[in-house]
């Protein structure tokens, strides 16, 4: 289980997360919605312990992430897979090496089974051809990088998966293939999932439950049907992409803050 309790995080005096509280229960698939810049990626980084919250607690697998030192964090992180928003492939390694590195480093599978595991994961994301395995990240499109990043994350059999905008930059067919994969990992392999997405179709396909981050707090949590029928004006505006409503297009939270700051 992943739980955040009252998490606050500021950067240079600018609050991004104010009081974030939500759970992702064991085996559950939760989608996290929110505007660009609302702190969704920061939330994931807190879960991984890459950044520490200023206040509040992050509990993953019954461990308080912010109290762990590196020696304790690494074993915990081996249970968590992360798909980065910008894939974050290692650009000095080819596709095969990107997916294989952690398998080798942690001896996740016996050495001679590594090629088969790499191939299996690349095939799952639709990149099974041998010619692709030899390509360097600079020779891939944005969407392909994303999928290699996904293969790299799932290769080590994580118990938890964090997906940062998994379908952004993919064509609609590829996007549904990835949605299906995320859902399958969740249902058949019981991978507990937290997914950030701006794609409502994706959200409705993947989610058991949807939570929404707005102005540094979780303002909504409910099932797909509850989201669709929500009369919360912020949620309603967001899922329908309405230009008019309580969320103002230009004067974002940060903009207002910055103005007040000056």
């Amino acid at each position: 289980m992943i739980s955040m309790r009252g998490v606050a995080k500021s950067f240079r005096g600018m609050p991004v997360l104010r009081n974030v509280t939500f759970d992702v229960n064991e085996g559950e698939s939760v989608v996290l919605l929110g505007r660009s810049g609302s702190g969704k990626s920061v939330t994931l980084r807190n879960i991984l312990g890459i950044i520490k919250p200023d206040q509040g607690k992050v509990i993953v697998d019954n461990q308080n992430v912010s109290e762990l030192d590196l020696d304790e964090l690494y074993p915990l992180r081996r249970k968590i897979g992360m798909l980065f928003q910008n894939a974050a492939l290692w650009d000095s390694m080819n596709v095969y090496e990107n997916v294989a590195l952690a398998l080798q480093h942690h001896a996740v599978v016996p050495r001679r089974e590594i090629p088969a595991r790499v191939k299996e994961c690349l095939t799952l994301v639709g990149l099974g051809e041998d010619s692709i395995a030899k390509r360097m990240p600079s020779e891939l499109s944005g969407g392909m990088k994303k999928r290699v990043g996904l293969a790299r994350a799932i290769a080590v059999f994580p118990k938890y998966m964090l997906y940062d905008e998994p379908t952004t930059g993919l064509d609609p067919i590829m996007a549904s293939i990835i949605d299906k994969l995320i859902r399958e990992l969740n249902t058949s392999l019981k991978v507990t999932s937290l997914t950030i997405t701006h794609d409502m179709n994706s959200a409705f396909t993947i989610a058991d439950r949807i939570v929404m981050l707005h102005r540094g707090e979780i303002i909504f949590s409910g099932s797909v049907d509850e989201v669709k029928n929500s009369d919360d004006p912020v949620v309603h505006q967001f899922i329908h992409g309405d230009p008019d409503g309580p969320i103002k297009p230009i004067y974002t939270d940060h903009y207002e803050k910055r103005q007040a700051h000056q």
């Binding site: 980084r45 910008n86 974050a88 290692w90 650009d91």
Partner: protein
């Protein structure tokens, strides 16, 4: 005004000390990773080879020119009071303790140090370092230690090589323009040779190697922002290591002589 500039000096002293502390911690962590040296040997060799291949032509060129200019200058300055047989000794003394290490140190700060900070800086800002962290692969073990340690071994070797080459550059000039033969040029060197000269050269090369690689690695790992951040890191690491090389050259010079 005064208050402000004192505050400015205070702030930069503090950030300088923080940087020094941070670099030392990074150095300590990298050294601790030497326990994995055998297992990770391929990573270290790869970095050592990269540095060697990238810097060798440059180092040969600098070495040759340093020696050529030193010989030319020695002849110009003292040509009419000094017999030509001392040209080699004059060049040797100038090059081995001072010009060789400092000039090649400065150029390697540009070549090795800047590429270290650019490479690590790019990986940092594009979250490639985080990607290692998340997969529980220690970036210090996997990225920093091989580059840092390989650099600290290779830079002194390259500096020493430059010093050697410079003697032949000097001989080339002496032979071509002043008609000095091989035995005349090199003959007096053993007589004036002091072990001290070699010691100073070794100490300086090792110190410069450490400065270049530590500054490069630390600045790279602390890069922020986008592509600009990487550019900034590269410049910062060059300027800082160049200054540190000149400072430490002076201190080591005064301490050891």
């Amino acid at each position: 005004m005064l208050k402000q500039s004192i505050r400015g000096i205070g702030a930069s002293t503090i950030s300088g000390l923080t940087a020094f502390g941070g670099a030392m911690i990074l150095f300590g962590k990298a050294l601790a990773n030497l326990r994995n040296l055998v297992k990770d040997a391929h990573l270290y060799f790869e970095q050592a080879r990269n540095i060697g291949v990238a810097s060798l032509p440059l180092v040969l060129l600098i070495g040759a020119f340093t020696g050529m200019v030193s010989t030319w200058q020695a002849n110009y300055t003292a040509g009419n009071i000094m017999p030509l047989k001392y040209l080699g000794v004059a060049t040797f003394k100038a090059v081995i303790v001072e010009l060789g290490p400092v000039l090649s140190g400065l150029v390697l700060a540009g070549r090795v140090g800047s590429s270290l900070s650019a490479e690590l800086g790019t990986m940092k800002i594009t979250e490639q370092v985080d990607a290692l962290e998340v997969l529980a692969i220690d970036p210090v073990r996997y990225l920093v230690a091989p580059r840092l340690i390989a650099g600290m071994v290779m830079v002194p070797i390259l500096v020493i090589l430059a010093v050697f080459i410079s003697m032949f550059g000097g001989f080339l000039v002496a032979n071509t323009f002043m008609g000095v033969g091989f035995e005349t040029y090199f003959g007096e060197i053993p007589i004036f040779f002091k072990m001290k000269d070699v010691q100073v050269m070794l100490v300086k090369s090792i110190a410069f190697g450490a400065i270049i690689c530590l500054v490069g690695a630390w600045v790279g790992m602390n890069a922020r922002g986008g592509a600009e951040g990487v550019g900034e890191a590269t410049i910062k690491s060059f300027v800082a290591s160049a200054l540190l090389i000149l400072f430490s050259d002076f201190f080591l010079g005064t301490l050891m002589f």
